[in-house]
């Protein structure tokens, strides 16, 4: 197999797997009456503790206006709260409510468990290697 052809296979496998992984948020969220985007939002907040709108936009790859709307709806559903940063009054911090934290934890655990189930067919060596490579790729992508 040529290198180019193999890269094409790599790309196809990565795209198919990415679809599957993000769909896990839809599945896990549905169990708690959260949309996929709401599930991604609360999981992104819980792993960061407290997070600004800009960082959240980068993490979720959303325009600031789309994120503002998403946070609006999440706030109405008592999942998150907004607070102003007193040191830079332009900035907003997003935090989970107790209810949001409860759903976020359940959803995050569910997604993580599903991913663990997905990779359990791999050898420990393959998993360790995969973790290193994926981390490197993700950091390169976000860098």
């Amino acid at each position: 197999m040529s290198e180019t052809h193999e890269d094409t296979n790599l790309a196809a496998a990565l795209v198919g797997l990415s679809h599957h992984v993000l769909h896990l948020f839809a599945d896990a969220g549905r169990a708690h009456d959260l949309t996929q985007q709401q599930a991604e939002l609360v999981c992104a907040v819980i792993v960061r503790g407290r997070v600004g709108m800009s960082e959240l936009g980068r993490a979720l790859h959303m325009e600031k206006s789309a994120l503002s709307n998403l946070v609006d709806r999440a706030e109405k559903r008592d999942l998150v709260t907004r607070t102003r940063d007193p040191h830079d009054r332009r900035a907003t911090w997003v935090e989970l409510t107790p209810e949001g934290a409860r759903l976020a934890e359940a959803t995050h655990d569910d997604v993580t468990a599903r991913i663990k189930g997905l990779v359990e067919g791999l050898s420990g060596q393959d998993r360790a290697h995969l973790t290193g490579v994926l981390t490197q790729l993700r950091d390169a992508a976000q860098g």
Copy 2:
């Protein structure tokens, strides 16, 4: 690092990377005035040649009604056509129009190129290993 902790890292890296990969469709599509979902649709069709609604729904992880709406809009924009299967008149085949095929090829090439750019920092050995593992995971996920 414990195995459990390492699996958590694996899950986090996979989620972050999946976000990035699917966002490539949004970027690549925008260059041709396609939404992310339209870009995913025409790319899914071009790699399959001609495809039924059910298979498309599985590939894109969409409910049949959502897919029906997406294909409606794509048909209005002259990206795809629907034809009835004469052997099973319940079934519908989706094909690309010449215009749809042109945009699909450009978008697919663009996404593939971006993914190749992403993995070019890896050694040939790491890439080959990654291709094997990702293919295995994708097939397990879709199986």
